[in-house]
């Protein structure tokens, strides 16, 4: 008998707009010790499925119909709340997405972990605290006993997520539901947390339901997968089979639209047009029909049921066989710019040049008299140049200074020392009116499509505003230009009359891009342009960015924590670590010939949607967490997490050395031989690579 047997689970949520059928007739089973993935776009019902199992639905939500959730043969649906409470946190536990909001900031972590033990075990507080220390150690919190009295704000995001996991595990639940447990975390920390979950699952013999939108995470950390779409299961099978021989077109499109590290950047990403249906009134036929490339009349009228063998079921009238063939994607080449990505060396003069940028922010609060003022070293001497029509990608963990650098480049902030030069003009010298006019050439595309557009302005006014500010054109010309811009980003002209909240996230991001384009800038800095978007929409925005670059000869600086996104867009990539640039090179240099151990570790941490590759690299990522930028390590800042670090790394700050024509890295013991050493080695007839001093 399976540990958890869910059949015909249907969840309705009453809202003012009507009843949302958030989960519709979902059935699956979960065996002890296995991990089941629930994947899909946002709004597909995967989180609601998890919450329904826990009986933690939002107000207005209810499990209805002949839904049944059997845990070890015991029916949970319809259980009185008192008994359900005994199951919750004891037999079934949940790990939530956001470690920043899931912990009570006014209680110590020891108290919070002990609380769930106290609730379920009927033991004394001392015993509960003892148990709390034990599980905190189990989840890899260093010195758990000393940290019991810590408050959540004293811990980093990764450690908080470990505390959350500890809370869930305190009573040794039989089923752990992890709802996007790593979405709010950096890739390096994500890899650590996922490895921890996998390890705990085997050690404690739990079953796990992993809810995620990330196909890479799914590939590496699940045994079986349920792909959900519009509240229903679209396809259900073993992980390997899903990635190699999926039958549902939705799975196929979802997988194809994820940019991969080994993606050929010269072809467009396939996209899924449209958006998921409104669940207050789901369409009559197949729910995916509207967005499906294979849809026929039958799909639109008749709803397919899950069919197929027990180990591979799918709901589709026209099942496909396996991933999209490469031919279909290659047929759409990525448009090329007017002058295909000139490298900075070949260009006469770089468009943008940043020299030795330093930016430090004072730490607020407890400044004791007599103590030196403490500062956050956000940027400590970063330089880069960018040619016209080129795309420069910036990657690194959060807190590495990439957003600060982006703000300096567009003049939203000024460096403490160092210069930013655009077309020969030093931005730091410009003031007032001159600076405002110069802004025309520099635009920014923001991360959050919900906060980047003024909610009280119509889209037409939003797009006209830059023209009005810069005094370009008459009112009539401006209106015409708004229409042009909307057409250019693929939105109908009617959109000008609507307000931002009437658009989806992806459409809003298009509006943001249109606004940045309004002044025909030379450079657009895109700060995490797609990280707030669903995978299927990501591809659309990435393709659009490429298209516009080709059409207007734009330069981009793309800031992202997602190496695959940067790899897809960028000609050259800069890897940042704790306020320093550690490696710069062409996209291929970085991906295939990484010289800095940090780059290599970062590459390894990126989840790849390929089960075999993903499983092979488990536990090989970067360990530890980013040190405090208030007090960065001496010498090489990466040394505290570097597997190759030696004494010299603490004493001496490494300088940038060349590894190729446009490939440089700052490391004492790089993974490949610097050009100068290689030349010297040839002259001297040998030499130990990497041990020779670079200076």
């Amino acid at each position: 008998m399976p540990l958890l047997e869910v059949s015909n689970l249907t969840t309705h949520i009453r809202t003012r707009r009507g009843v949302v059928r958030a989960v519709d007739d979902v059935s699956f089973t979960l065996e002890a010790g296995e991990t089941l993935g629930l994947v899909g776009e946002s709004g597909c019902g995967k989180s609601m499925t998890g919450l329904s199992l826990m009986g933690l639905l939002p107000p207005g939500g209810a499990v209805v119909g002949d839904s049944s959730v059997l845990l070890d043969g015991r029916e949970l649906v319809g259980l009185p709340d008192r008994e359900l409470r005994r199951v919750r946190g004891n037999d079934i536990a949940m790990v939530f997405q956001d470690p920043m909001t899931s912990l009570d900031p006014t209680k110590t972590i020891g108290h919070q972990v002990a609380e769930s033990v106290l609730l379920h075990r009927g033991c004394t507080r001392a015993e509960a605290t003892e148990r709390a220390a034990e599980v905190l150690g189990l989840v890899g919190l260093p010195h758990p006993r000393e940290r019991l009295k810590d408050y959540p704000h004293q811990l980093s995001g990764g450690l908080r997520q470990r505390v959350l996991i500890a809370m869930a595990l305190a009573n040794e639940p039989r089923v752990l539901i992890a709802d996007e447990p790593t979405t709010a975390l950096d890739v390096t920390i994500q890899a650590q947390i996922l490895a921890l979950l996998a390890d705990l699952r085997t050690r404690l013999g739990m079953a796990m339901i992993l809810i995620t939108h990330d196909m890479g995470v799914t590939a590496g950390h699940t045994d079986r997968v349920n792909v959900m779409y519009a509240g229903r299961i679209a396809e259900s099978t073993g992980t390997d089979r899903l990635f190699r021989g999926m039958r549902h077109p939705y799975t196929q499109s979802l997988l194809a639209s994820v940019p991969r590290l080994d993606q050929d950047p010269s072809v467009q990403l396939p996209t899924i047009p449209g958006r998921p249906p409104d669940l207050t009134a789901p369409p009559g036929g197949c729910r995916f029909a509207e967005r499906c490339r294979y849809a026929t009349d039958r799909c639109r009228t008749e709803e397919p049921q899950l069919t197929g063998a027990d180990d591979h079921r799918y709901a589709c009238w026209h099942p496909t066989s396996g991933p999209l063939p490469a031919g279909t994607t290659a047929a759409v080449p990525r448009p090329d710019g007017p002058s295909p990505s000139p490298s900075p060396s070949s260009a006469d003069r770089p468009l943008l040049e940043a020299r030795d940028l330093v930016r430090e922010f004072p730490v607020h609060g407890n400044r004791l008299p007599g103590r030196a003022r403490r500062v956050v070293h956000a940027l400590s001497g970063v330089s880069l140049e960018l040619g016209p029509g080129e795309t420069f990608g910036l990657v690194g963990e959060s807190g590495c200074g990439k957003t600060t650098l982006g703000r300096l480049l567009v003049g939203l902030d000024r460096p403490d020392t160092g210069t930013v030069t655009l077309d020969g003009t030093d931005l730091g010298r410009l003031r007032g009116r001159e600076l405002r006019e110069r802004r025309r050439d520099l635009q920014m595309m923001f991360q959050d499509p919900y906060s980047s557009l003024d909610p009280r302005m119509r889209v037409g006014s939003i797009l006209r505003e830059p023209l009005q500010i810069q005094g370009i054109g008459t009112a009539r010309q401006q209106k015409a230009r708004v229409a042009e811009l909307l057409t250019e980003v693929g939105l109908p002209e009617r959109g000008a009359e609507l307000y931002p909240h009437e658009f989806s996230g992806g459409q809003r991001q298009r509006i943001g891009l249109a606004r940045a384009l309004a002044l025909t800038p030379k450079l657009i800095v895109a700060d995490e342009p797609v990280s707030a978007l669903d995978v299927s929409v990501r591809a659309q925005v990435l393709n659009l960015m490429n298209r516009l670059q080709a059409a207007h000869g734009l330069s981009y600086v793309v800031i992202s924590h997602d190496l695959a996104v940067v790899r897809y867009l960028a000609d050259r990539i800069g890897v940042m670590y704790l306020g320093r640039m550690v490696e710069v090179g062409s996209a291929d240099d970085i991906q295939l010939r990484a010289a800095h151990p940090y780059t290599a570790g970062l590459l390894k941490a990126v989840p790849v949607p390929d089960p075999e590759l993903e499983r092979a690299k488990r536990g090989t990522g970067i360990s530890g967490e980013l040190p405090s930028p208030v007090d960065p390590p001496s010498g090489c800042r990466f040394r505290t997490r570097c597997p190759l670090a030696r004494e010299r790394c603490a004493e001496e700050q490494p300088v940038m050395r060349a590894f190729g024509p446009e490939h440089t890295a700052a490391c004492h013991f790089p993974l490949s031989t610097p050009l100068a050493d290689a030349a010297a080695g040839r002259l001297n007839g040998g030499g130990v690579p990497g041990s020779a001093g670079g200076r």
């Binding site: 996209t271 047009p273 449209g274 958006r275 567009v410 939203l412 600076l435 405002r436 006019e437 802004r439 025309r440 520099l442 635009q443 920014m444 923001f446 991360q447 959050d448 919900y450 906060s451 980047s452 557009l453 003024d454 909610p455 009280r456 119509r458 505003e465 830059p466 500010i469 810069q470 005094g471 370009i472 054109g473 010309q477 015409a480 230009r481 042009e484 057409t487 250019e488 980003v489 693929g490 939105l491 109908p492 009617r494 009359e497 609507l498 307000y499 909240h501 009437e502 658009f503 989806s504 459409q507 943001g512 606004r515 309004a518 002044l519 025909t520 659309q540 659009l544 298209r547 059409a551």
Partner: protein, 309 residues
């Protein structure tokens, strides 16, 4: 002024579905209308609004239909109980109480709205500028407010009105001086969070000046708290005026207002002249409750507006 460079037309993108407006596509559902819908859906708001409308009609249109002499003292008509000719009786000076309620309500409402308007304008601009500029400017501007707040308002009012002969506009000015502080603090708080939003940075990226950002982006987005604070200010000022009048320091005759009526009526309460106390007390309570209902409703409607679609 430079001209626009034409953009070369590109091949069409894959079609994108726009949200289909539920009603006629020519009338886009704006945030304003959504907001109005939420407001209407809220019963309290409608009740409050209805009550304010009735009171305003009573005070401004009433005297046109029901003419009374509120200037000449007629002692022979003093302290008449409600009856024919005087539906709510007369007071010690022989003024008709119903007519006097209308007269008094006019100055109360005028004062309330005038104070709300001035405090909102001053408070909003002050708070928005302080919040937007931040840093030292903000610190100095806020300390100014703290200093003003340290002065006990009612004492200052009492001193001022006992030294100078109060006029309606004088009291409006005084009350405004005292109550813009709260509005300024509220707006500053709101702007502090709004200014970190990306659309404000986007406006800076376009070369927008500080003034434009404050007026075009920050103030409209803080409109909710501004309206809420405005409606509460109306109620508060009406109450304060009544309190001053009750203490005998309100508007001098021939001005009438509810507070003066109340305090005069209290002296006669032991004589059994109930019609001199209950009517002004009731209308005062109803008015203040009405404005508070509206304020609450706007506050709730605002929460709805903040929800993502």
């Amino acid at each position: 002024m430079s001209t626009l460079e034409p953009i070369e037309p590109l091949e069409p993108l894959e079609p994108l579905d726009l949200p289909q407006p539920v009603d006629a596509p020519t009338v886009p559902r704006g945030s304003g209308r959504l907001w109005a819908e939420a407001f209407v859906r809220n019963r309290r708001a409608l009740v409050g609004l209805g009550m304010v409308a009735v009171i305003a009609a009573f005070c401004f249109i009433g005297p046109l239909l029901y003419r009374t002499d509120q200037v000449t003292v007629q002692l022979d008509l003093a302290d008449l109980p409600p009856g024919s000719g005087n539906p709510l009786g007369t007071d010690a000076s022989g003024y008709d109480v119903l007519g006097r309620l209308m007269e008094g309500g006019r100055s109360s409402l005028e004062l309330g709205f005038a104070v709300a308007l001035t405090t909102t304008v001053i408070g909003t601009l002050y708070g928005a500028v302080a919040g937007y500029l931040g840093g030292i400017v903000d610190a100095v501007m806020m300390r100014v407010i703290d200093t003003f707040l340290a002065i006990p308002g009612i004492v200052l009012l009492l001193i001022m009105v006992s030294v100078f002969t109060p006029t309606l506009w004088g009291i409006i000015l005084l009350l405004s001086l005292l109550s813009w502080l709260g509005a300024a603090r509220l707006v500053r708080g709101e702007v502090l969070s709004l200014r970190t939003r990306e659309f404000v940075q986007a406006a800076r990226m376009m070369g927008g000046t500080g003034g434009r950002i404050v007026l075009r982006h920050l103030v409209p987005n803080a409109a909710g708290v501004i309206i809420v604070s405005g409606t509460f200010t109306i109620a508060d000022s009406i109450l304060t005026l009544s309190a001053l009048s009750f203490l005998g320091l309100g508007l001098p005759p021939p001005h009438a207002d509810w507070g003066t009526m109340l305090s005069a009526g209290l002296n006669s309460l032991y004589d059994g002249y109930w019609w001199l106390v209950y009517p002004p007390a009731a209308i005062l309570i109803v008015t203040v409750v009405a404005f508070n209902l509206i304020g609450d409703a706007v506050h709730d409607a605002l929460d709805v507006r903040l929800q993502r679609p």
